[in-house]
């Protein structure tokens, strides 16, 4: 056991996430730093995709990692560490989002935007997710990011957003429809470009 621990300590960069988590639980901040290095981009990207501006996203991502370190004993290793820390980050962002009362504004925007057309996904799915997410309303973006980026179920997202389950489901559905439509358009554009260059 001690030998295994010494091996992990010596090879932090190649160690498995769970080994690094075990070391972090003993107070090894170096091991936790390696976890930050590995998963920071994912957390920062998720927060930006949820609608946070870059500075806010980075602030919250830092807070999320600090919270993760404080609560590392609660990580049971049942899922990936990256998914766990993303959930923490998503919840922290939601807290700030609610505090800033953006939700009311978002709902207003939703009402103004109304329904959009849907499409069918092509077999070769290529999508610039960040660009596509910009076409969603803040609420749709939030719900889709929570469910597909942070891995929350619809019910968990509803609880986190303090919104009825039905509303979350409809935001997710409309968001998926918009993304799908955008994706089809992007695929068509890419095909057209390939044909014109070919």
């Amino acid at each position: 056991m001690a030998q295994a621990l010494a091996h992990v300590l010596a090879h932090r960069a190649s160690a498995h996430d769970l080994d690094l988590v075990a070391l972090a639980m003993t107070g090894d901040r170096g091991a936790f730093g390696e976890l930050v290095r590995r998963h920071a981009s994912g957390v920062r990207a998720l927060l930006r995709r949820m609608g946070a501006d870059p500075a806010t996203a980075d602030d919250i991502a830092q807070d999320a990692f600090l919270t993760a370190y404080e609560e590392i004993a609660e990580f049971r290793g049942e899922g990936a560490f990256s998914a766990w820390v993303r959930r923490i980050a998503a919840r922290l962002y939601l807290r700030r989002w609610r505090k800033e009362a953006r939700q009311a504004l978002a709902l207003q925007e939703d009402a103004e935007l109304g329904e959009t057309s849907t499409g069918t996904p092509g077999p070769d799915i290529r999508l610039d997710l960040d660009e596509a997410l910009k076409t969603l309303t803040p609420s749709e973006r939030m719900c889709v990011s929570l469910c597909y980026g942070a891995g929350l179920s619809h019910a968990e997202a509803a609880l986190a957003l303090n919104t009825p389950l039905g509303t979350v489901k409809s935001h997710v559905k409309r968001g998926l429809d918009r993304l799908r439509a955008r994706m089809v358009a992007q695929t068509a554009d890419a095909d057209e470009e390939r044909t014109s260059h070919g």
Partner: protein, 129 residues
């Protein structure tokens, strides 16, 4: 089926994070905050421990605890001397009074050690939880 593959693709797109040019700087900021947080915590625990120890010591002096301990030690000595007159208890009292160490100072030291041990326990507990 098509819906599932789209959702799976979406999850995989979310899982793919774009590279950040300042990734190393971000990691350094987080670990820096982590180190600073622990340095502060250690400093606060140490300061509180020192202040607690000083206040406790002063309070004990002011309340005349050491004098009382001395008196208690003297009383114990008298009791043991009485006990030593009983044949059955002679062995035990001889053991306790051997080297003439069972006086007030022994009680002081024991009390201080117990206090120190309790302080260490609390400090350790605070660090762990």
């Amino acid at each position: 089926m098509v819906e599932r593959s789209f959702e799976a693709e979406l999850e995989s797109l979310f899982a793919r994070a774009p590279p950040f040019a300042d990734a190393d700087l971000f990691t350094a900021r987080v670990t820096g905050r982590l180190d600073r947080g622990w340095a502060w915590r250690r400093l606060i625990i140490g300061t509180l421990g020192l202040a607690g120890g000083l206040i406790g010591g002063l309070e004990m002096l002011r309340a005349g605890v050491f004098v009382r301990f001395d008196a208690f030690g003297l009383a114990g000595k008298l009791v043991l001397e009485d006990m030593s007159r009983l044949p059955a208890a002679r062995g035990l009292s001889e053991l306790l009074t051997s080297g003439n160490t069972f006086d007030g100072r022994l009680l002081w030291m024991s009390g201080t050690m117990a206090l120190l041990a309790a302080g260490l326990l609390v400090t350790r507990g605070l660090r762990e939880f």
